[in-house]
Symmetry: C2
Subunit: 137 residues, 2 copies
Amino acid sequence: MKIGELAKESGLSVHTLRYYEKQDLLLATARSESNYRLYDQQALGTARFIRRSREIGFSLEEVAVFLSIRADKPAHVCAEAKTLAENKIVDVEQKISELKQVLSALHKLSDACCGGNESAEHCSIIDALEQSDQEAS
Amino acid sequence: MKIGELAKESGLSVHTLRYYEKQDLLLATARSESNYRLYDQQALGTARFIRRSREIGFSLEEVAVFLSIRADKPAHVCAEAKTLAENKIVDVEQKISELKQVLSALHKLSDACCGGNESAEHCSIIDALEQSDQEAS
DNA sequence: CTTGACCCTAGAGTCTACTCTAAGGTTTAA
DNA sequence: TTAAACCTTAGAGTAGACTCTAGGGTCAAG
Ligand SMILES: [Zn+2]
Ligand SMILES: [Zn+2]
Ligand SMILES: [Zn+2]
Ligand SMILES: [Zn+2]
């Protein structure tokens, strides 16, 4: 199949597929006489594998590692894959906890403000942002 | 005070302060004979205001809105500030919920894998990434 | 034989918020 | 006087993952 069909089947854009090729993540199976990229079912499998890995939150760099494991499983061990996943879990948990802090700060701001159509001279949001460094811990 | 002192007092870097000036967020109060940027206490207040807003998660674009409210409070109403905060809350909640989904997907992957030093031929992580589109809902 | 839907390349642009560099001028203290 | 520690500018670089453009071939249908 040509790149357009692969795009449709895999849920990735044509541009993205070419980008992945440049990044050595997904090479075309062959080229037609007119130099069109041609892909087989295995390439479709790989494209989907990449998409799914990305959806789960892995970076392209991490996806590359998964692809190399996948390409030669006997040469790799479970620990490699699991380590990637566990590190990612730590990252994501970290990000979530940062965002939760942000969220609670935002709620404090928002709750204190009347949100009405009166002048902002008394606005507690602006006031709160003003007092730079005296947090109650 | 000069930019280096403002940087120290505000907790922002000299580079960042100049960047903010380029973005019209924080102009120097004056220039010395030798063309050095000079700042007064009010500028320090503004610098801290920006830093604090950034820490809470607002973008520079949003900070610019807060600054314009702050610069002329009588011309603005609480609703403007509160709307920004509320929209941000929605954004952050959205992001958190996405990350939670990602996290649960990662846990599923990670928990299923033995993580041992055996060949990855049976690795459930690679297998799970393989089956592109048949999620149990 | 032309139109439209494909495909190709190399390379630039996007986003956000910095961060740094090069090449210089100024101030301060020893 | 000289060295350190400041300051200036314009502009480039960084991250990550695309996304798009210009300028061109190719292919099937009517
Ligand atoms: Zn109010
Ligand atoms: Zn208010
Ligand atoms: Zn295993
Ligand atoms: Zn495994």
